[in-house]
Amino acid sequence: MIRFENVGLRYGMGPEVLRDISFQIAPRSFQFLTGPSGAGKTSLLRLLFLSIRPSRGLISIFGKDSVQVGNDELPEIRRRIGIVFQDFRLLDHMTTYENVALPLRVQGMDETRYRSDVVELLDWVGLGERMHVLPPILSGGEKQRAAIARALISRPDILLADEPTGNVDPPLARRLLRLFIELNKLGTTVVIATHDLALIDQFDTRRFVLKDGRLQIYD
C-alpha cells in the first residue's frame, strides 16, 4: 500500500530532519509511530499524506510514485487517506454534522445520499446528540471524535492520526484507541503517531520509532 525507500527530508537549506527512512505499510495493518517530541513524527505523517515532498528517496503510495503525482491527482489520493490532526482542524462555523460530512460534500454528493451514513457514524463515535453543535461548544474529547469521524466518513483505505490522544484524559485515550483497533478490524489500515509510550505498551502491535531523524521498526 505504502512504500518508503531511503527517504530523506530537509526543510529549505536546513539539516535533514528525516534520514534514510525505509518501510512498507501493508493493507489492514496497524502501527504506532512514536518518538520524542521533535523527532519528525508529524513530518513523516505529512510525507505519507503528500502534503510535502521528500528531498530524496522514493515514496510509493497506492502504487504511484509520489514524484509523478501531479497537483490534479492529489485530491483523488487524499480521498483514500483519512487524517486526524492533533489540533482537530474542525471548521468552527459549521456544525459537527457538517464537519463530518465535509469529505462527501466536497465530492459533490447530494446530502440525501450521505445523511444517514453521517448520522450513523456520529452515533457510533458517541456524538449523536451533539451533531448540531458548533465545534467551539464541544469538549476536547468530542472534538477529537468528530475529527476521527470526519476522517472515516469517506471509508478511507488508510487512517493517519497525529497525537489523537494528546488532548484527552487517559480513560478517553484508551477508548479512542479501542475505536482505532475496531476500525482496523473492519479493514482500515491505521497509523497512529503518539509520544505516549505508556499507552502504546498496552497494545501489542507494530511500532515505528523515530529518533534523531532515523527510523527503527519493531514488529
Binding site: F49, L50, S51, I52, R53, N71, D72, L74, P75, E76, R78, R79, I83, R89, L91, H93, M94, T95, E98, L102, P103, R105, V106, Q107, G108, D110, E111, R150, S154
Partner: protein, 341 residues
C-alpha cells in the same frame, strides 16, 4: 448612570441594530441565493464553507458600490453625448444653406428666384425657401442694432434648403450647377461643423470608455486584494478542504460564490444609487429651468433622464461588475492554489 440603568438601553440599541441587520439579510437573501446557485450550490440549507464573516464583505461591497456608481455615471454620460451628437448631426445634415452675395448690376431677387428653381430640380431636395430681408435683419440685430435697412448694406441673402433624402442628393453637383448660373453663390452643407461635432463627440466617447475601463480595472484590483485577504484569513479552511480531497476548482468555486454575492450586492446598490441620481438630477434640472425654457446643460447634452438606453446600460454595468468580481476571484484563488499542495 448605574449598570442596571445602562443595561436596558444597551440592550434596546443592540436589538434595534440586530433587527436592522436581520432586515438587510432578508432583503439581500434572493441575491445571496442567486449567487450561490450561480456558483453551483443547489442546496441552500447547507452552511457556506467559506464563512461570510471571514471576508471583508462590507468594505468590498462599499468599494464595488462606489465603482458601479461611477461606471454607471460614465456610461450614462457617454450614452447622452452619443445620443445628442446623433440628434445634432441628423438636425444639421437635414438642411443646407445657399448664400448669394450681392454684386453690382445684379438683381438679387431675380438671382434668388433662379437659385431656388435650380435647387428644386435636384433629386432629394424638399422644401426650398428664401430667407426674408426682415429675418436676416433679425439675425443681425444683436450685432448691428434694431431698425436697420439692409438694402443699404451688402448683406448676403440666404436660401434654406430642406433635404428629404440625403442619399439621393449630390451636393457637389448642386454646387457646380449653381456656380455655373449665378454669380457670388456658395453652398454650405455644414460639413465642417458636422466633422468637428463628430470629432468632439468621438473624443468624449473615447474618454468616457477609457474612464469606464479604468473604473472596472480598479474594481478588479480591489477584488484581488480582498480575495487574497480572504484566503489569508481562511488558511485553515483551505488546508482542511485540501486534506479532505477537495479539488482546486471546488475551493475556487466556494470563494467565487461568496464574492459573486458581494459583487451583485455592491453592483445593485451602485446602480440603484446612479438611477436615483438621474431621477433626482433630472427633476432638479427641470426645477432650475429658466423662463425661456431649457437649461444650458440640456442645450448641450439633452435631457438628463433615465432613458431606456441608459437603463439598459445600468443593467449591463451590474452584470459586468458581478461577473468580473466572480471571475477575478476564481482566477486569484486558482492561481494561489496551484502553488500549494
Amino acid at each position: 448612570m448605574t449598570d442596571q440603568e445602562q443595561y436596558p438601553r444597551y440592550r434596546a440599541e443592540h436589538s434595534a441594530k440586530d433587527t436592522a441587520r436581520t432586515g438587510l439579510r432578508v432583503a439581500f437573501a434572493p441575491i445571496r441565493y442567486a449567487a450561490r446557485w450561480l456558483a453551483g450550490h443547489r442546496d441552500m440549507r447547507q452552511t457556506p464553507i467559506v464563512p461570510p464573516q471571514s471576508v471583508a464583505g462590507t468594505a468590498l461591497v462599499a468599494v464595488i458600490a462606489i465603482m458601479s456608481f461611477l461606471a454607471c455615471l460614465t456610461l450614462a454620460a457617454v450614452t447622452m453625448v452619443f445620443e445628442q451628437a446623433q440628434l445634432w448631426e441628423s438636425d444639421v445634415s437635414s438642411e443646407l444653406t445657399v448664400q448669394i452675395r450681392p454684386s453690382d448690376g445684379v438683381d438679387i431677387e431675380f438671382e434668388i428666384e433662379r437659385a431656388i428653381r435650380i435647387t428644386q430640380r435636384e433629386p432629394g431636395i424638399g422644401r426650398v425657401r428664401a430667407m426674408e430681408e426682415a429675418d436676416g435683419a433679425a439675425l443681425l440685430e444683436p450685432w448691428l442694432g434694431a431698425g436697420l435697412d439692409l438694402s443699404e448694406l451688402p448683406v448676403p441673402r440666404l436660401i434654406i434648403v430642406d433635404i428629404d433624402n440625403p442619399a439621393m442628393l449630390d451636393v457637389g453637383r448642386l454646387r457646380a450647377n449653381l456656380s455655373d448660373s449665378i454669380t457670388g453663390v456658395s453652398v454650405d452643407d455644414h460639413g465642417i461643423w458636422i466633422d468637428q461635432l463628430k470629432r468632439i463627440a468621438n473624443v468624449t466617447i473615447a474618454t468616457g470608455i477609457g474612464i469606464f475601463l479604468l473604473v472596472l480595472a480598479a474594481t478588479c484590483l480591489s477584488v484581488v486584494f480582498a480575495t487574497r485577504g480572504a484566503m489569508a484569513g481562511n488558511q485553515v479552511v483551505i488546508s482542511v478542504l485540501h486534506f479532505v480531497g477537495a479539488l482546486n476548482r471546488y475551493i475556487a468555486g466556494e470563494f467565487q460564490g461568496r464574492f459573486l454575492f458581494i459583487g451583485l450586492k455592491g453592483g445593485l446598490i451602485g446602480c440603484i444609487a446612479a438611477a436615483t441620481f438621474f431621477v433626482v438630477g433630472g427633476g432638479l434640472l427641470g426645477f432650475l429651468e429658466g423662463p425661456s425654457g431649457g437649461s444650458p446643460f440640456q442645450a448641450l447634452f439633452g435631457g438628463f433622464s433615465l432613458t431606456p438606453l441608459v437603463f439598459i446600460g445600468f443593467v449591463f454595468v451590474l452584470i459586468l461588475v458581478s461577473a468580473l468580481t466572480a471571475v477575478t476571484t476564481r482566477m486569484t484563488v486558482e492561481r494561489y492554489l496551484a502553488t500549494v499542495q
